[in-house]
């Protein structure tokens, strides 16, 4: 029982990690965004279906930054605390393109399966 739960959790994490990376890269593609904005956008655009906890979001952001896919930068604005904005690096842009292709292929494949089942 405990083992089965652990396996589910592990696979879910695995699955989410790949897609989560894609989500973040996509969101910072158009313009630099800060962490909270990213999490809001994910929640908002998914209609509340997908939510990142702080404990997931920031480690992920730091990992992407470490890989050189995104680059964080502190930005100060008058009357506000400074915030860390993340932008896509040229390298990240290539990664995003390939991940996006992979994701679309994956979704298309799934869709084909799902559609065939229902046909």
């Amino acid at each position: 029982m405990a083992l089965a739960y652990m396996e589910t959790l592990a696979s879910e994490l695995e699955w989410k990690k790949g897609s989560a990376e894609l989500l973040i890269l996509s969101l910072v593609e158009a313009r630099p965004r800060h962490g909270y904005e990213i999490s809001k956008l994910i929640e908002h655009r998914s209609g509340g279906a997908v939510r990142f906890h702080v404990a997931s979001l920031y480690p992920l952001l730091y990992r992407l930054e470490k890989r050189g896919w995104i680059q964080g930068q502190w930005v100060e604005k008058a009357g506000q605390r400074r915030r860390r904005y993340y932008r896509l690096t040229p390298y990240g842009r290539r990664v995003l393109a390939s991940q996006r292709r992979g994701w679309q292929a994956f979704v298309a494949a799934i869709n084909r399966i799902v559609e065939v089942e229902h046909a």
């Binding site: 962490g35 909270y36 906890h53 404990a55 480690p59 470490k66 605390r81 915030r83």
Partner: protein, 893 residues
């Protein structure tokens, strides 16, 4: 989390920002604050997960090297630096908060720095002599000056002194021969005077052995000040002659700038130590400085000299009964009564600083609500409570150090105001300024201050209260808020109590000062000019010569436009004088009044009119009386026959105090008394005048006798004149009149009577002014503190107020709610403050004149003022509360 500290600080900042955003959004979306906080923190539901994941991501980051022996293997320095940078950033991010806190602290620390710089230079810095703790002042047991023969016996018979040197009080010298004549103060000293002190000259030499023999005293050592101002610091002056009191003296040396003993001496001449010159055993007219042998303590030296004094008492009972000995540390003697006043000042400014601390602690508390989220994140990231506490303290210490820096500047500026403090700074004090020890004091003070005001808030927001909140639900949050509020209220009450104490002290001192100011000392205050003359023996050796000069001068001065009257006196009211015991005519050896002293005052006719002293009975002294006195003096100096003495009758006026003391219920006119037992000569009372205060504003009038002025033995004469013009505008003309009679006579110590009085009240004035200043500062800070807490309260209770108003509460109800809260805090503070002040003001007793330390009027007035200010400070935010639009406030819900 064991990440590089800088990295950790960045992560904390970013995550805290995230939580803050979420919280705001929840609140603006309609959540209650407590709920919003809980929901926001819910994101951190498993703090270990975040820490674990972050560690996984960041593991490639090299760890800080571990310092061997560092506390528990933690790299203390490595993590303090980023904490420090983080703290600085926090301060920069809240410029308003930082500015208010730094300014508040700067005021408190600055005031302390300024006062400490005075204390440092007056009390703490040792005298500029080698082994200054061996140096003592030696006097008679009652504090009297020494007689020459007694001194010689002490010097010979003591066991505990390595050296002892006699010197005179300051004597008047007219320095002439170059430009305008000037008055200087000189001291005659024994030959070993400089060597006893261990002082060496800047130029030339000091005395050589035997230089204090009779007839060998025409050398002079100059002070640095005199050398610099009168001789343009001429390096070739040594060996040349200067004119002092119309006689030539050879300059043998110049002392360095810091040598100032006895205080304010301009020059030193050798003393004639021959027995003839030293005078009799009963003539107490000298001072002495001694150097104790190494290892000898003050009590040992005291016991030693007391023994010698006892021996002398047995040998010379008629002159030495109960004379005793008195040994006092030189430094303490020079400081005099200043020490207690200075510590009192430091105590006052310390209270101001305490209030500043309380204010800043309150500011930090108010901010702690916001900071709690950040602290929670740090806690979630694995920071221990100790680490959080350290971070909080570090920030408050940082704040305090900034305040200390600004305070140092303020203190430096405050020292510019020191002419104000001059009244309490004894002469010979090294220059007051910011030096290394003042700097160290300020630094340590700031450090301690930071810890003091940072401790309470740090304790509260380093509590993992927010994490408790997640686990324990809303109850914990409420209790955290309550704790904060309770502490905040306590701090406000405390600062009201402290400022009340200071205000009471200031009020008492002010009242005392006003009492002093308004004392009627029996003499006209305004329109009086006084100026001193020194008539040297070489030119004015006889009474007749003195009288010729003073009469001519008075005639000239009385003719000046604006002068109503003028007179000569041998001393001024309030500034002491000479006195003696008397024998009443017909009461051979009076026993009952033998201990009563009578003040002797030499005046020329016109003195009572000039000084506005009223004649109560009989007549005033006339020029004829002066002539008669002069003639009697001349006769007596030639024949000391008993009959001549008995028949010599001098006319005198007396004051009412004397009439009442010696001839109560009798007519004093025509009564006679003598200073020389029942042999005469006799003084006969020809008139009675009003009382004046002779020995200070607070000293009641003493019996006083006025005799015709015919020269004082030291050549002093004071010109007093009553004018309808501003007194000081006459100085140039008066000087011209003096110069017309004798171009070598300097006019000095030129003052109005108001200045004479001001010198008396200078200490009281300084004290009340400074303590008043500190109390004002305290009041201001307390008002700001109350305002801050009330404003915070209003902001917190916006919704409640809105609901109340929506339910029909009137503005006055809301006002009453908020102001009532402020009033409650104020009254608690006032009650505590009154109790504390009652306990503390008795230390003031010695500084007060005719005001009791528990003066009810002052306590009540101060309590009322403080309450009024506190009410005003809470009224402003409460007005804002009444302007809350119920709908707007409710929409927040």
């Amino acid at each position: 989390m064991n990440l590089a500290p800088t990295r950790e600080a960045e992560i904390v900042e970013e995550v805290a920002q995230h939580l803050e955003d979420r919280y705001r959004e929840l609140v603006s979306g309609g959540s209650k604050e407590d709920d919003a906080r809980r929901l926001a923190l819910n994101d951190l539901s498993d703090e270990y997960l975040l820490a674990k994941r972050l560690r996984a991501v960041e593991q490639e980051v090299p760890r800080e090297p571990i310092v061997p022996g560092g506390g528990g293997g933690k790299n203390v320095l490595g993590s303090v630096w980023p904490d420090l940078r983080y703290g600085l950033r926090q301060l920069r991010r809240n410029p308003g908060f930082t500015a208010v806190a730094v300014l508040t602290l700067a005021l408190g620390i600055g005031a302390n720095t300024a006062i400490f710089s005075v204390i440092d230079s007056v009390l703490l810095r040792p005298l500029a002599f080698p082994h200054p703790d061996q140096l003592v002042v030696v006097k008679n047991g009652s504090g009297w000056p020494l007689s020459g023969p007694d001194y010689l016996d002490w010097q010979r018979q003591n066991q505990t002194f390595s050296s002892m040197a006699l010197h005179t009080f300051g004597q008047s010298y007219n320095l002439t021969g170059g430009g305008q004549p000037s008055y200087v103060s000189g001291v005659a000293t024994e030959a070993n005077f400089f060597s006893t002190l261990g002082a060496t000259p800047l130029l030339g030499r000091t005395w050589v052995k035997g230089e204090d023999k009779e007839g060998a005293n025409r050398e002079v050592v100059l002070s640095y000040g005199l050398w610099a101002t009168q001789f343009a610091a001429d390096g070739g002056l040594v060996g040349r002659q200067i004119q002092l009191n119309e006689q030539a003296y050879t300059v043998v040396g110049v002392m360095p700038r810091r040598f100032d003993f006895p205080p304010r001496a301009d020059l030193w001449v050798p003393m004639d130590m021959s027995e003839k010159a030293l005078g009799g055993r009963g003539e107490h007219q000298y001072l002495a400085v001694g150097r104790m042998k190494p290892g000898v303590t003050l009590p040992q030296a005291q016991a030693d000299l007391s023994l010698v004094a006892k021996r002398l008492e047995k040998l010379y009972p008629e002159t030495n009964t109960k004379v005793g000995a008195w040994v006092y540390g030189l430094h303490h003697w020079l400081i005099g009564g200043t020490e207690r006043e200075l510590w009192f000042m430091l105590g006052s400014v310390a209270l101001v600083l305490l209030i500043a601390c309380v204010n800043v602690a309150n500011l930090l508390l108010a901010r702690s609500a916001a900071r709690q989220k950040e602290m929670a994140v740090r806690g979630a990231l694995g920071a221990s409570r100790g680490r959080l506490l350290r971070q909080s303290l570090l920030e408050s210490v940082l704040l305090a150090l900034l305040g200390g820096g600004a305070g140092l500047l303020l203190g430096w500026a405050g020292i510019r105001l020191l002419p104000l403090v001059k009244a309490v700074v004894p002469p010979g004090t090294p220059p007051i300024g910011i030096n290394i020890s003042v700097f160290a004091f300020t630094f340590l003070l700031a450090l301690a201050t930071g810890i003091l005001f940072g401790l309470a808030p740090a304790w509260i927001y380093s509590r993992p209260a927010v994490l408790d909140e997640l686990k324990g639900g809303a109850g914990a949050a409420v209790s955290a808020g309550r704790r904060r509020r309770f502490l905040g209220n306590g701090l406000v009450a405390a600062e009201i109590a402290i400022s009340l104490t200071l205000l009471v002290a200031a009020g008492l001192l002010l009242k005392s000062f006003l009492r002093l100011q308004s004392i009627d000392f029996g003499v006209r205050r305004s329109g009086i000019l006084t100026a001193q003359l020194n008539l040297p023996d070489a030119k004015y050796g006889s009474e007749a010569k003195v009288l010729t000069f003073t009469r001519a001068l008075l005639q000239r001065v009385r003719g000046l436009p604006g002068v109503v009257s003028a007179s000569i006196s041998d001393h001024l009211p309030l500034e002491g004088g000479t006195n003696g015991t008397i024998t009443l005519y017909g009461k051979p050896t009076n026993t009952d009044n033998s201990s009563e002293w009578v003040e002797m005052h030499g005046i020329s006719p016109g003195y009572f009119e000039t000084m506005d002293i009223h004649l109560l009975a009989g007549r005033m002294l006339t020029e004829e009386d002066t002539d008669r006195a002069l003639a009697l003096d001349a006769a007596l100096s030639q024949q000391h026959m008993a009959t001549e003495m008995q028949n010599a009758i001098y006319p005198v006026d007396i004051d009412r105090a004397m009439a009442r003391m010696f001839w109560p219920g009798q007519n004093p006119i025509g009564q006679r008394f003598s200073y020389s037992g029942d042999t005469g000569p006799w003084m006969e009372v020809v008139g009675v005048v009003g009382d004046t205060r002779q020995w200070g504003l607070t000293e009641p009038p003493r019996p006083e006798e006025y005799q015709p002025f015919h020269g004082d033995p030291w050549g002093g004469a004071i010109l007093v004149l009553h004018t309808t013009l501003p007194p000081l505008s006459l100085v140039a003309e008066v000087r011209q009149q003096v110069a017309a009679l004798d171009p070598d006579l300097p006019l000095f110590s030129i003052r109005t009577m108001e200045q004479v009085v001001a010198r008396q009240t200078a200490g009281a004035r300084t004290e009340s002014l400074l303590v008043g200043l500190f109390a004002g500062l305290a009041l201001l800070l307390a008002a700001v503190g109350i305002y801050g807490v009330m404003a915070y309260l209003v902001a917190q209770r916006r919704q409640e107020i809105g609901i109340r108003m929506a339910l029909g509460a009137r503005r006055s109800d809301v006002l009453r709610l908020v102001v009532g809260r402020g009033l409650k805090l104020t009254l608690v503070g006032v009650a505590i403050g009154n109790a504390a002040a009652l306990g503390l003001t008795r230390f003031l007793a010695s500084l007060l004149y005719e005001v009791k330390p528990t003066d009810r009027a002052t306590f009540i007035a101060v309590s009322l003022i403080l309450t009024a200010v506190a009410l005003l400070a809470s009224y402003i935010p409460s007005r804002r509360a009444t302007k809350v639009d119920p709908m707007v406030a409710l929409r927040y819900e």
